[in-house]
C-alpha cells in the first residue's frame, strides 16, 4: 500500500500531535517507565524488518534483512519485558499504599 504526497504529510502531522497529546500530563515518577514503554512501541519496526527480509532476493539483502529482524525483535521483546517489570513494581507499590489506607 503506497501512501503518497500530502496524505503522508497529514499522517505524520496528526501522529505527531497525537504523540504530544497522549503523554502531556505524565507525572515525574512515570518518566522512565514511559520512556521504556515508548521504546517498546517503536519495536513495531519488527514488522518492517520482516517485510524487507521477506522480499529479499540477493544474499546481501538477506544478510542485512536478517540483521534487521534480529535487532527489531530484540527491541520489541526486550522493550516489553523491561517495561512490564517496571510497571509491575509500580503497581505493587500502589496496592501497598491502598492496603495501608484501608
Amino acid at each position: 500500500m503506497a501512501i503518497e504526497g500530502f496524505v503522508a504529510i497529514y499522517i505524520f502531522m496528526l501522529a505527531g500531535f497525537a504523540g504530544f497529546e497522549v503523554i502531556s500530563r505524565v507525572p515525574v515518577i512515570l518518566h522512565t517507565p514511559l520512556m521504556s514503554g515508548s521504546n517498546f512501541v517503536h519495536g513495531i519496526v519488527v514488522v518492517g524488518a520482516m517485510v524487507v527480509l521477506g522480499h529479499a532476493e540477493s544474499t546481501a539483502e538477506q544478510i542485512v534483512g536478517f540483521i534487521a529482524v534480529i535487532l527489531a525483535a530484540g527491541n520489541a521483546v526486550g522493550g516489553y519485558v523491561v517495561t512490564e517489570r517496571m510497571l509491575e513494581m509500580f503497581k505493587s507499590k500502589d496496592e501497598q499504599k491502598k492496603g495501608a489506607q484501608e
Binding site: 500500500m1 503506497a2 501512501i3 504526497g5 503522508a8 499522517i11 505524520f12 505527531g16 497525537a18 504523540g19 504530544f20 497522549v22 503523554i23 502531556s24 500530563r25 505524565v26 507525572p27 515525574v28 512515570l30 518518566h31 522512565t32 517507565p33 514511559l34 520512556m35 514503554g37 515508548s38 521504546n39 517498546f40 512501541v41 517503536h42 513495531i44 519496526v45 519488527v46 514488522v47 518492517g48 517485510v51 524487507v52 527480509l53 521477506g54 529479499a56 540477493s58 546481501a60 539483502e61 542485512v64 536478517f66 540483521i67 534487521a68 529482524v69 534480529i70 535487532l71 527489531a72 530484540g74 527491541n75 521483546v77 526486550g78 516489553y80 519485558v81 512490564e84 510497571l87 509500580f90
Partner: protein, 316 residues
C-alpha cells in the same frame, strides 16, 4: 489477505496510542503496556500474511531471527536487576534504531541491484526461468524500476530522501544508544575520544550529511557503506562526552530519534503502522525528553553540550 493485514495494522496503531495514553497515568499504566503488547503480537503475526513476504527460506529466516533474538531479549530483560533498567532500555532502543537503518540498507541494496549493470543478467535469468524473450524480460524488469541510473531514480525521490534520513537517524541512535548502555553499565569510562572533540563531531556530522546527499545520487555501494559508517561514527562521538547523570535524558532523546527513524522507514516501505507508531513515539519522546530535562532543572542543549564544556575546561 491484504485487507486483513492492513486492518490489523490499523488496530495495532490504535492500541499503541491508547497504550501510551494509559501508561502516562499511574492508575492505568500496567494496562497500557498490555494493550500495546497485544497490538505488537497482532501486527507481527499478521505480517506473515503480508504479500511482500515470499519464499520459504526468507520465512524460515524470519522465524529463526525472531525466536533467537526474542528469546535472548526475554531472558536478558527478565534477569537484569531493577537498578540496571535504564541501560537495558538504551540497549533495546539502540537495536530498534539499528533495525530501522538496516531496513534502509536492504532497500538501497535492492535499488542498486536494479541498476543497469544488474539488469542484463537479471533479464537473462528471468527469460530462461519464465521462458519469455529477452526483450519481454527486460521490459518487465524496467516496469519495477530496474535500469535506473541511481538510488533516487530506482526508489523514487520521496522514498529515497526519507529512507536516507531514517538511515542517518537510525545509525546515530544505534551507536549512540550502545555507548549510553556501555557507559551506564560501567564498561566505558572515557569522556572524550579525541582532542578538540567538538570540532571533530561537527566535521563527522557534515561529512555524514554530504555522504547522505551523495547516496541519493549514487550508484556505488562504497558511498552507501561510507554513509552508514559515518552515521555510526557520529552516534559514538555524540554520546561519549555525556556524563552519567545526564544519561537518562540522552537515552530518551535517542528513543525519540529511533521513533522518527522508524516512522521514516515506514514511509519508505509503505507501512502505515510503522509511520504512525514511529511518529507518535518521535513526538512523545521529544516531549518526554524535555520534561525529563526540566525535572533535572536543565535544558536539553545544556545536557547535550555540557560535556563538551567540561572537556574544553579540563583541556585548558
Amino acid at each position: 489477505m491484504n485487507f486483513i493485514v492492513q486492518l490489523s495494522y490499523l488496530i495495532a496503531a490504535v492500541l499503541f496510542i491508547l497504550g501510551l495514553k494509559a501508561m502516562s497515568s499511574p492508575k492505568t499504566a500496567r494496562r497500557g503496556i498490555v494493550w500495546a503488547g497485544v497490538g505488537m503480537v497482532l501486527a507481527t503475526l499478521v505480517t506473515f500474511l503480508h504479500p511482500a513476504v515470499q519464499g520459504l527460506t526468507n520465512t524460515i529466516l524470519i522465524v529463526i531471527g525472531i525466536a533467537v533474538a526474542g528469546g535472548l531479549a526475554w531472558w536478558s530483560g527478565r534477569r537484569v536487576a531493577m537498578t540496571e533498567m535504564p541501560q537495558m532500555v538504551a540497549l533495546y532502543n539502540g537495536m530498534g534504531g539499528g533495525a530501522a537503518a538496516a531496513i534502509a540498507g536492504v532497500e538501497m541494496l535492492r535499488a542498486l541491484r536494479m541498476l543497469p549493470e544488474g539488469l542484463q543478467s537479471q533479464a537473462q535469468a528471468l527469460a530462461s526461468d519464465a521462458g519469455i524473450s529477452m526483450a519481454a524480460a527486460e521490459a518487465a524488469l524496467r516496469a519495477e524500476g530496474a535500469g535506473s541510473a541511481n538510488i533516487a531514480s530506482a526508489l523514487g525521490a520521496d522514498v529515497a530522501i526519507l529512507a536516507i534520513l531514517g538511515a542517518l537517524i537510525g545509525t546515530v541512535a544505534f551507536s549512540g544508544s550502545l555507548i549510553a548502555w556501555a557507559k551506564l553499565d560501567g564498561r566505558m569510562k572515557r569522556n572524550s575520544l579525541v582532542p578538540g572533540q567538538k570540532y571533530v563531531n561537527l566535521l563527522v556530522f557534515v561529512l555524514a550529511i554530504v555522504f547522505g546527499i551523495m547516496t541519493f545520487f549514487t550508484d556505488s555501494i562504497l558511498v552507501v557503506t561510507l554513509f552508514f559508517a559515518l552515521g555510526l561514527l557520529f552516534g559514538v562521538f555524540v554520546a561519549v562526552p555525556i556524563g552519567g547523570a545526564d544519561m537518562p535524558v540522552i537515552i530518551s532523546l535517542f528513543n525519540a530519534l529511533t521513533g522518527l527513524a522508524v516512522g521514516f522507514e515506514g514511509y519508505a516501505i509503505g507501512n502505515p503502522a510503522m509511520i504512525i507508531a514511529g511518529t507518535v513515539v518521535g513526538a512523545a519522546g521529544t516531549l518526554l525528553t524535555q520534561l525529563m530535562a526540566k525535572a533535572m532543572n536543565r535544558s536539553i542543549t545544556n545536557v547535550l553540550f555540557a560535556g563538551f564544556g567540561a572537556d574544553t575546561q579540563s583541556a585548558s
